[in-house]
């Protein structure tokens, strides 16, 4: 599903945020991406959705080389990808349900279907009583769950989750992991960036370790 060949990425000329990344993520797999703060986890995920451009190397997503993708094709790439951003990126002027509805609106689903799906997914993350609230009226963990709900609402082929449990307590974390596991079972390829040692130890998923922009463990 996702393949990277000799990928380099540098925000500034001299410092590589990623160096010679070679990675193959099979369709339907569940991969944890770990590494210390600043290792390059978020950067790697950003490359997959064209939020950032690789400086060198080739990246295939669903068989398609996205390194030289046209600006106008990027939206269609992203529609198959659910993203939980590390900083949530919720729209503060929209209610929770409107935030979660957005990916469905974008692909032009009917009003009824949107409402139905958005409500369901919010119920799944335990926020059905907050649908009319605005993001800034939620606690940090609640916002994070909205971000997860928004990423899942679309049944995406790929889910990129950047530290999705950083603001969640143990019970909520486990519950979210269970949700992701179910999505994975239904076919979604998942990459999850985390520092949470518990996640790594408790779930026996494939772990890719990054440090200073390089892959130091993979298996």
């Amino acid at each position: 599903m996702i393949e990277m060949y000799h990928v380099y990425m540098a925000y500034q000329r001299d410092a590589n945020a990623l160096e010679d990344i070679n990675l193959k993520i099979e369709k339907g797999s569940f991969v944890l991406l770990t590494g210390p703060s600043g290792a390059g986890k978020s950067t790697l995920l950003k490359l997959i959705t064209c939020q950032e451009k690789a400086t060198k190397g080739q990246i295939l997503v669903g068989g398609r080389n996205i390194v030289r993708i046209r600006h106008s094709s990027i939206p269609y790439l992203r529609r198959n990808t659910g993203i939980v951003f590390q900083d949530f990126k919720l729209l503060n002027k929209r209610t929770i349900i409107d935030n979660v509805s957005l990916p469905l609106e974008i692909i032009g689903k009917s009003r009824k279907e949107i409402k139905h799906k958005a409500w369901n997914v919010l119920k799944m993350v335990g926020l059905q009583h907050k649908i009319a609230s605005y993001p800034l009226q939620l606690s940090g963990g609640e916002q994070q769950r909205v971000a997860i709900a928004r990423a899942l609402v679309n049944d995406p082929a790929i889910l990129l989750a950047d530290e999705p449990t950083g603001n969640l307590d143990k019970e909520n974390s486990e519950y979210i992991m269970e949700l992701l596991r179910r999505a994975n079972t239904k076919g979604t390829t998942i990459m999850l960036a985390t520092h949470d040692k518990n996640l790594i130890e408790n779930y026996h998923y494939r772990v890719v370790g990054l440090e200073k922009g390089k892959i130091i463990s993979n298996g």
Binding site: Q51, S72, I83, L91, K93, P103, I106, I107, G108
Partner: protein, 301 residues
């Protein structure tokens, strides 16, 4: 591609306005004020033009005739002059009329005239020129041409006043056009930049929406509609404000002074219906334009 209804984008635009009342109110207010300046100018300018046209009406050439012309000759002359391209009206004034109006014109004149044994004043034609021929140069040329006609002694047209007046007219119109063009550009500048700022306040929202897979079109359309609505609201407000000011103020002032302004009646009028339509469409076009140039820089993610 999935079919997306236009009503969706209209709703989206209305949502956006509701979600950002502060910036939208400011934008609409600024658009309204800019348009108020512009449409006030339009109103003043069109009224000035009508007024000047009325005054222009009064420019005329007096043609003094040789004495002892026969009635037929005078008729022929009158027809000939009237047939000239730029002559609109002609009126014959015989020697007796000339003398009696002369008597009235200067006080104490009757004393003078009483002593006369014959009427020394010539008969004359009063000639009004066509609208298009009232610039000073054209009046001058016409007078010169008329004075060379056989049987005409002299052509007089209040040289100094006509010259000053028609120059003033030309200047007023030129200055008006320049100011109009300038105000139009200023309005475009202010409106589009205000819209730019309102778009800028939603930079993040745009970027996030794009990260969720929205096409540029999906993001732009609501903004375009929003811009059009802002422009429409702003220009409509400006017209409403102008009309209000016109009713309660200008009419009051004008009624007290207009009587003395012109010989005929002159009524300060509001913008014409086509102009109103142009202003409203201009508002919408400008709103659209403002959104259009604002969005480019925020759709790069």
């Amino acid at each position: 591609m999935v079919f997306i209804k236009t009503s969706y984008f209209l709703n989206k635009a209305l949502d956006n306005i509701r979600q950002n009342p502060f910036v939208n109110l400011i934008a609409i207010g600024v658009i309204a004020i800019s348009f108020l300046i512009f449409s006030t100018f339009l109103m003043l300018f069109s009224n000035l033009n009508s007024l000047l046209a009325l005054w222009e009406e009064e420019i005329q050439i007096e043609l003094f005739l040789d004495d002892n012309l026969s009635g037929e000759k005078i008729d022929a002359l009158q027809k000939k002059i009237l047939s000239m391209a730029n002559v609109k009206e002609i009126r014959y004034i015989n020697k007796e009329e000339a003398l009696s109006s002369f008597k009235k014109s200067i006080p104490g004149m009757d004393v003078l005239v009483k002593d006369l044994n014959n009427n020394p004043l010539p008969a004359s034609f009063e000639i009004k020129l066509a609208e298009s021929s009232k610039s000073f140069d054209m009046v001058k040329a016409a007078a010169k041409k008329l004075s060379t006609i056989d049987g005409v002694n002299d052509a007089v047209y209040g040289q100094e006043w006509v010259e000053r007046f028609s120059t003033s007219l030309a200047i007023a119109r030129l200055v008006g056009l320049i100011i109009g063009a300038f105000l139009l550009m200023a309005t475009i500048f202010i409106v589009s930049n205000t819209i730019k700022l309102t778009v800028y306040t939603r930079k993040e929202e745009l970027e996030i929406t794009r990260l969720l897979g929205a096409t540029d079109r999906f993001i732009r359309l609501p903004f375009f509609i929003e811009g059009i609505l802002q422009g429409l609201a702003g220009s409509a407000l400006s017209l409403a404000g102008l009309y209000l000011a016109y009713r309660i103020f200008i009419i009051k002032v004008s009624s007290s002074v207009q009587a003395s302004l012109v010989t005929g009646t002159f009524q300060i009028s509001f913008l014409s219906t086509p102009t109103i339509t142009y202003v409203l469409f201009g508002g919408m076009a400008l709103g659209l334009f403002g959104s259009f140039i604002s969005l480019g820089r925020f759709l790069k993610v």
